[in-house]
């Protein structure tokens, strides 16, 4: 975007910025993501380090929320048991659109160490809700979570808002040709 750079070096006359409404909206959306943290296992412990001052997750513009109705995205950090999967589904459905999901750690990506003998573990949270960003690791380092956050921001900032169906149809058409 480079929107902020323009403030240092404005056009003649000053204070004029050029950009599409979509760019500005997406810039705002991607830089102020509020999240619902769904901590289930040791990944949530690692996420505490991520949230603390050393790695400072809030500099990405994220604010932890305790209600799904105020959250832009949900973070699934840990082992999703079948018992908990139903609760996650309910929370996901309570979130307002547009909403995103970040799956952190091997367990919520694919079942992790419980993939074979875990009779009680859902083998990947993507079996019940759509996942936008997967962060691998067991548990992932905070750096990996940061990259996941950057990926999510990039995804949001490139999203179509206007003429969405028309533009998505074009993309679908291109994918079909491939």
């Amino acid at each position: 975007m480079g929107l902020l750079n323009k403030l240092d070096d404005p056009f003649e006359g000053g204070g004029v910025l050029l950009g599409t409404v979509e760019d500005v909206l997406n810039w705002g959306r991607s830089k102020s993501d509020w999240y619902l943290h769904f901590g289930l296992a040791c990944c949530a412990i690692e996420f505490m380090a991520m949230n603390a001052s050393h790695f400072d997750f809030m500099r990405f513009g994220t604010i932890p929320r305790t209600s799904p109705r105020q959250a832009d995205f949900i973070m699934i950090t840990g082992t999703v048991t079948l018992k908990m999967a139903e609760r996650i589904k309910i929370l996901w459905e309570q979130m307002a659109e547009p909403k995103y999901c970040m799956s952190i750690g091997s367990c919520s990506n694919s079942g992790g160490p419980y993939w074979e003998h875990g009779y009680h573990v859902l083998k990947g949270v993507d079996r019940i809700i759509p996942v936008d960003v997967y962060v691998p690791g067991c548990p992932p380092r905070p750096e990996a979570m940061q990259e996941g956050m950057v990926k999510l921001q990039k995804m949001i900032s490139e999203q179509a808002i206007f003429n969405k169906r028309k533009r998505m149809a074009e993309i679908d058409k291109q994918n079909e040709i491939k």
Binding site: L82, E86, S110, W115, Y119, H120, I128
Partner: protein
């Protein structure tokens, strides 16, 4: 008190209902108790002033084919001695008297043993599943347990 002495006290009191096993390497010595006597033995262990087992460290189930078993780890805070009790029941009628009224901590431990092994603790006031969902079928830690294909529309195998 030494483990041998505790075992002697128990054999004097309960006779053939208990069988001390002193050389049980690699595990520590334990005493086998008949399932229907477990309440009396536990009550004696707690209330006898020389034994005074006031703390139940752990109660767990075990599936030792072909039988189901319950293992009790007891400790006396006052005398600083401990003891292991074991009892085995047939898998077709896994009924063991509850010790929930002797040690309150047995409440959830027995619920867990019921949840995982299906051991029926007779007289327990609230014997329902504690870890698995209430409508779960089967007892997961039994050797012959088969992982379900589906639960509430979610596929379970990888």
């Amino acid at each position: 008190m030494q483990t041998e002495k505790i075992f002697d006290t128990l054999t004097k009191k309960f006779g053939n209902d208990v069988t001390p096993i002193l050389e049980a390497a690699p595990s520590e010595p334990f005493i086998l108790v008949k399932a229907d006597k477990i309440y009396d033995v536990c009550l004696f262990l707690r209330d006898n002033s020389e034994l005074d087992f006031d703390y139940m460290m752990c109660l767990t189930g075990v599936h030792q084919k072909p039988d189901l078993g319950v293992v009790y780890h007891l400790y006396s805070i006052k005398h600083k001695h401990k003891i292991v009790l074991k009892t085995f029941v047939s898998i077709d009628a896994p009924n063991v008297p509850t010790v929930e009224r002797i040690w309150r901590s047995a409440d959830w431990h027995e619920r867990e043993a019921w949840d995982m092994y299906g051991i029926n603790f007779e007289g327990h006031h609230n014997l329902i599943r504690i870890l698995c969902p209430y409508d779960w079928e089967g007892f997961p830690l039994r050797k012959d347990y088969v992982t379900p294909e589906e639960y509430h529309g979610m596929r379970v195998p990888y």
